[in-house]
Symmetry: D2
């Protein structure tokens, strides 16, 4: 699944953060590339494929300014996947990059950020450019070779000058 | 880890059962071989290695009278691994053989059955013979070849005649 | 693929042996269980699945009297898979159990033993009981759990007394 | 293992080519990125890790102008790994990108190109930039994420203008 790169990435709506001293926003991350990965802690494909890939991304891009952001997008078994369980999950799986609990607003089984991005299920991911534009979305786990190439290309792109004044005036 | 086969397998102490219409006891299973596997739903080694092996045992021994019994032996992150979460876990991982929640009696972080068997952590497993004796205990995941051989040998052994009167008089 | 267990396993026809001080025959191995595995050194399924399984069988059954016998059944690319290349292959893949080159008699692309057993391709395998009877044949790689169970059951069976005099009189 | 990127990649010395209608030279490939991978057909690490990675690179970068070049660098078991066996190997493993047999000149067990690059063993690889400079060398198999990033970065770099006249005058 690819989306045209001319959409600004929707802002995150998060009810609780882990692994970060302060809440994160895409607006605040402007100027950096963001790898946003959506998962559920009881989703077998997430646990066996997506989370290990995130750990590999953590290591492989440690020397870059890539910002990894996890999103716990619970859309089923809501009572089974609470923040208490998520905290223990992150500890056991040694995921050290920031993870936010996608905001449940009661209007849908799916939480708010998941709806904004149109994620069809878990695992899903998005790559957001330095200028805040949505570069790529994927449902399922992409091949490492392809993901590595996408992240490197996004990191190699400088933020356009037009975004600088906006940041300065923000 | 091997234990002498001259010990009777300790009885199960379970607070809640899943995937079975009625509670199970080793006494009630006398005459059948039991593969008892102990896990925690947030234990990475259990999720990536032990549970997939249990699913393979379910398939490979479906035509035999082997009784598989899972034991959710929570000894850490107690609030994170509740029966509500376990129920969803079993659904998502398609584990259909019986699973009991090892009884927490408040006297230790480790639950009762885990202490009775002396399991050092998760995953652990035990093979119990038709006569109720403990044939083998293992900490970690054994190789499939070895486990297949152990289960086949246990299944091939007939319950000794000496146990028959006991069962008849029970 | 299963065959009735009432057939005597056909004798091996081998042009050259590796990893054994003397040629092997099923007749000479009477009284022992034989795990016969057929492979080609350029067969990807053999190299990635069957040979690693044979190495696991070597380890798992090292304490038993199981006899592992490999058979290099070249039925294609004959000039590419010579005994010289096989010798280096066995060295590099650290296969230390005996391997025979299945006899090419020029009457078919398939060698003699392969035809006798009716192997459809590589990898294939057969389990031969202590009495020399064919217990099981498989095309492809069986699950380790199932193979472990089959080998254990075959090993647990004593050679029938009727075969003893035959051996004595041979 | 990293080498400074200021060395021109040594030219290939090949005695026989497969999967290409005409011999390849780095000089002739100037302007394109080259992924050079060195292997031996009886090297277990090559067969189980490096060759599958090359197949993934073939797929992942099919839409780019990346040139994959394999090099059969036989430095042991010379009689066992002949071009006849290599041809069957490439067929069986479905490697369709060009592969050259590294030239054996009799002055060393190691062939000529392997010596020029200083490869310590197999598998090894090198990435060569559009300007013919050696961007990276690796012994062993790199993680896909890292390799994907390296190849993407190399592909994103335009050949410097200084090389254009040279090409025009060639």
């Amino acid at each position: 699944m690819e989306r045209p790169g001319h959409l600004e990435a929707p802002e995150l709506a998060v009810s609780e953060w882990f692994n970060t001293p302060a809440p994160l926003t895409l607006k605040g991350l402007r100027g950096r590339v963001v790898f946003l990965h959506s998962f559920q802690l009881l989703c077998p494909g997430c646990v066996s494929h997506a989370i290990p890939q995130v750990l590999r991304v953590e290591r492989a891009f440690a020397a870059t300014d890539l910002q990894i952001v996890g999103l716990h997008t619970v859309f089923e078994h809501h009572r089974a996947m609470t923040p208490v369980t998520l905290r223990a999950f992150l500890h056991e799986y040694r995921l050290t990059s920031p993870v936010g609990v996608d905001l449940a607003d009661g209007q849908s089984d799916s939480p708010v950020t998941m709806r904004r991005y149109g994620f069809r299920g878990t695992p899903s991911s998005a790559i957001i450019g330095r200028d805040g534009m949505l570069l790529h979305e994927a449902f399922g786990v992409e091949e490492d070779l392809v993901l590595g190439a996408r992240l490197a290309m996004a990191l190699a792109t400088q933020a356009p000058r037009s975004s600088a004044p906006e940041a300065a005036g923000g």
